[in-house]
């Protein structure tokens, strides 16, 4: 349920429940109607406005806040661990003039479980409560943008992503438990140490063991410092990598712009040459324009009496006798005179016809016309190419800004990266040495402390020794459990991710599958036997989306969390094969799958193969009574 949230003015309810065997809910909307707002509403409700990347006042409906003071809220109702949860997050807003953002109160979270309010007083308590249902870091694998998930394939995963994956797989809880037990164990050792020192104040060995304990504590402290430094150095390396990737991408665009500029200049030259050609050619425009007239004149000229015949008859009629010396018959004379009379009227036509015929023969207007069209077609091509080049340049300029050359920046970032990587290496080496030292000294400390402890048998010491043994046993058990769980989970996730990837990819014959390293880095195994990190292969946007979807699908299958999968922009710019494969896979990606799409991504034909898995279909559209607001309309389902 939403009220006054972004484009949703007043109260709206959308029923996203599913029927058995029909896990899919479809929500269709044009761009800018509220599809992504619905996505953000869920993030807002669970984790607050900080999770949406926007301040709370931006989530207040713009129409509602111009009318009165009011409240914006999102309420999610769902089953979780066989209980009915109602989570509501709200902000109060003050009336504000059109075009400005309203003042808003702090966010308020209310939780009810089976109708009973849960008392959560501090923000920390609230956060912890929600985190226990679905940790915010882990939510990235449940609520995601189909195009945005490509990030999991673009860079080696950072600590943040690694922790999120461990959280989803339930490993994080065990890791936390191990850390807690280690702390308890350490604390117990200190306490035992203190007792031993107290009991044998003048015993040199006790003092030495105590000193060793302090030395070990210092080493631990140094290791913690090194961890912090390693974390910072990793962040630096990652930040440099990101800067480098960004710079290199922009540099490539700068090169593309240079190429586009060259193309544009060449096209301009070609257009100039073409203009000259047209100008030169237009000398023939007159003859092309009058060609039909010339043809008619030529035809009529041929039909009139030829000049030689006219001349011969004229010569005969100048005398009373024919050339054979016989008198000319009056009827013949009359006939000849008729021919000449008629011909007198068309003599100029004869002349015109001759001229037209000669001109047609000399100029061939049909061929000229064809040439004219060819030159003009060439001109159109050149001009449309020029428009394209200029458009390309404008697009590139928008992305590049005023930057001319980033070679120096790339070098600086590469140098910084090199320094950060050297620091990282240095800290790692030192940490490794310290850890070895710690292991050795801890072993020695344990042995000497145990030996020393044997000399004393009072109850306090015996108790501490017993606790210590228990915590050591627990730590060992948890460590083994983690190792086993990590190995098994990774293997299962990799196997399923490979299967899904091979089902979804448009080139299944090229790949063997996906591998997951200890650092949760994705590697692609090709048929040829090579295994390379995905980010190192620079996959296309479509291929990246498919790999990331396969990874997320596998994580979801083996997750220790229970949550619906909500996908915004499910298809993006996938090719038809990827698109078809992915649509057919979505019903399997989670127990409840909500797909937010826009009509150009999925047509009714595209949806047809999964129609039987769809519980309900909703249309998100502009409110006909308020063009600034959106409403839900159920178009299919109960």
């Amino acid at each position: 349920m939403l009220e006054n949230f972004r484009p949703f003015c007043s109260r709206h309810t959308i029923d996203l429940s599913i029927e058995k065997g029909r896990p899919v809910i479809l929500v269709k909307a044009l761009n800018d109607v509220g599809k992504t707002s619905l996505f953000k509403a869920i993030q807002f409700c669970l984790y607050g406005s900080k999770a949406t990347g926007e301040k709370a006042f931006r989530h207040v409906n713009r129409t509602a806040c111009t009318q009165n003071d009011g409240r914006t809220f999102v309420k999610l109702t769902f089953d979780h661990e066989e209980k009915l949860y109602e989570i509501t997050r709200s902000v109060e807003f003050k009336k504000s003039p059109p075009g400005s953002f309203p003042d808003t109160s702090d966010e308020v979270l209310e939780v009810r479980v089976d109708g009973i309010p849960v008392k959560l007083e501090s923000i920390r308590e609230q956060n912890e409560y929600i985190e226990a249902i679905l940790p915010e870091d882990a939510s990235q694998f449940f609520l995601f943008d189909g195009e945005d998930i490509q990030k999991y394939t673009r860079y080696p995963p950072g600590e943040h992503v690694k922790e999120a994956i461990e959280m989803v797989l339930g490993i994080r809880e065990l890791l936390n438990a191990r850390e807690d037990i280690e702390n308890i164990s350490r604390e117990l050792k200190h306490e035992l140490d203190d007792l031993l020192v107290e009991r044998s104040k003048h015993d040199q060995e006790a003092v030495a063991v105590d000193s060793l304990g302090r030395e070990i504590a210092d080493i631990r402290k140094r290791i913690e410092e090194l961890d912090t430094r390693i974390g910072q150095a990793r962040e630096n390396v990652k930040s440099c990598d990101e800067t480098l990737i960004k710079h290199v991408a922009i540099q490539a665009k700068i090169e593309s712009r240079k190429q586009a500029e060259q193309n544009r200049d060449l096209l301009k030259e070609q257009i100039k040459t073409n203009e000259n050609k047209i100008r030169e050619f237009n000398r023939h425009l007159g003859v092309i324009l009058v060609a039909p007239l010339l043809r008619e004149l030529s035809r009529l000229g041929r039909k009139s009496v030829p000049h030689w015949k006219r001349a011969a008859i004229g010569a005969v009629l100048q005398s009373d006798f024919c050339i054979c010396d016989r008198p000319i018959d009056p009827s013949i004379r009359e006939r000849f005179e008729r021919i000449l009379d008629k011909d007198l009227g068309v003599s100029s036509l004869q002349y015109l016809g001759d001229q037209a015929t000669e001109l047609l023969f000399d100029t061939q207007p049909d061929a000229l016309e064809k040439s004219l069209y060819e030159i003009l077609a060439q001109r159109r091509d050149l001009e449309s190419n020029l428009v394209l080049q200029e458009q390309t340049m404008a697009d590139l300029n928008k992305e590049i800004g005023g930057r001319e050359d980033l070679a120096a920046d790339i070098k600086a970032a590469a140098d910084t990266r090199q320094r950060a990587a050297a620091d990282l290496e240095k800290y790692m080496v030192e940490k490794q040495a310290k850890e070895m030292d710690l292991e050795t000294k801890s072993g020695e400390y344990g042995r000497r402390q145990a030996k020393l402890a044997e000399q004393f048998t009072d109850k306090d010491i015996e108790d501490k020794k017993a606790y210590l043994r228990s915590s050591d046993a627990c730590e060992t058990a948890v460590r083994e459990a983690i190792d086993e769980l990590v190995d098994k989970s990774k293997q299962k996730v990799a196997e399923l991710a490979s299967k899904v990837f091979l089902d979804l990819t448009n080139a299944p014959t090229l790949y063997q599958g996906i591998e997951i390293t200890d650092e949760y880095e994705l590697k692609i195994k090709t048929i040829g036997g090579t295994t390379r990190p995905v980010w190192d292969q620079s996959p296309s946007a479509g291929q990246s989306q498919i790999i990331a979807t396969a990874y997320i699908a596998a994580l979801n299958r083996y997750t220790a969390r229970e949550a619906p999968v909500i996908v915004d922009t499910p298809i993006g710019r996938l090719d038809p094969i990827h698109k078809k494969n992915l649509i057919e896979y979505y019903p399997e990606i989670g127990p409840q799958v909500i797909i937010l799409y826009q009509p150009s991504e999925l047509s009714s034909e595209d949806i047809e193969p999964i129609a039987k898995y769809v519980s309900s279909e909703w249309l998100l559209e502009r409110d006909p009574h308020n063009p600034d607001a959106s409403i839900f309309r159920r178009i299919k389902g109960r």
Binding site: R279, N282, R283, V287, P292, L293, S347, E358, L372, L376
Partner: protein, 148 residues
């Protein structure tokens, strides 16, 4: 006087003129659509005859004397000669010359109107429309062909 006199070519002293020097400057000099003004004159004359368009304006601006045109312009000269015999049927050379100039400026008015409206001359369309128009115009000109 015989009809063949009407079929004689234009006098070599005939001066090609226009009432629209600015239009010639724009299309020939500024836009560089034609290499020589005589090319524009020929096309305009063809359009004028085709659409039976005679300008009412008095041509005052000299373009070129027909006799000074080189062999390079024979094609245009021939077209002008033929059209001159369509433009005026009769022995009076002065009237024939006036008719040519009037038709040429009439055609130019049509081209200029199109150029001002479109910012260009759409040559394929002009040629195509000419092809469609000629059959009717040829019927109208049948008296010329009969030498009346």
């Amino acid at each position: 006087m015989s009809q063949t006199e009407n079929a004689e070519p234009l006098d070599e002293n005939f001066m090609v003129r226009t009432a629209y020097p600015d239009a010639y400057q724009e299309l020939w000099q500024r836009k560089k659509l034609f290499k020589h003004q005589i090319h524009l004159f020929t096309a305009a004359l063809a359009i004028g005859i085709l659409y039976n368009a005679q300008s009412q304006k008095k041509p005052h601006h000299d373009i070129v004397r027909i006799g000074t045109l080189s062999e390079e312009h024979k094609e245009n000269k021939d077209v002008i000669n033929i059209l001159s015999q369509i433009a005026y049927v009769g022995p009076d050379k002065r009237s024939r010359g006036a008719a040519i100039l009037s038709y040429a400026d009439g055609g130019l008015e049509i081209l200029w109107k199109e150029y001002q409206a479109q910012g260009m001359l759409d040559l394929p369309r002009i040629v195509d429309e000419a092809k469609k128009k000629w059959p009717d115009r040829i019927v109208e000109l049948s008296h010329v062909f009969k030498g009346s």
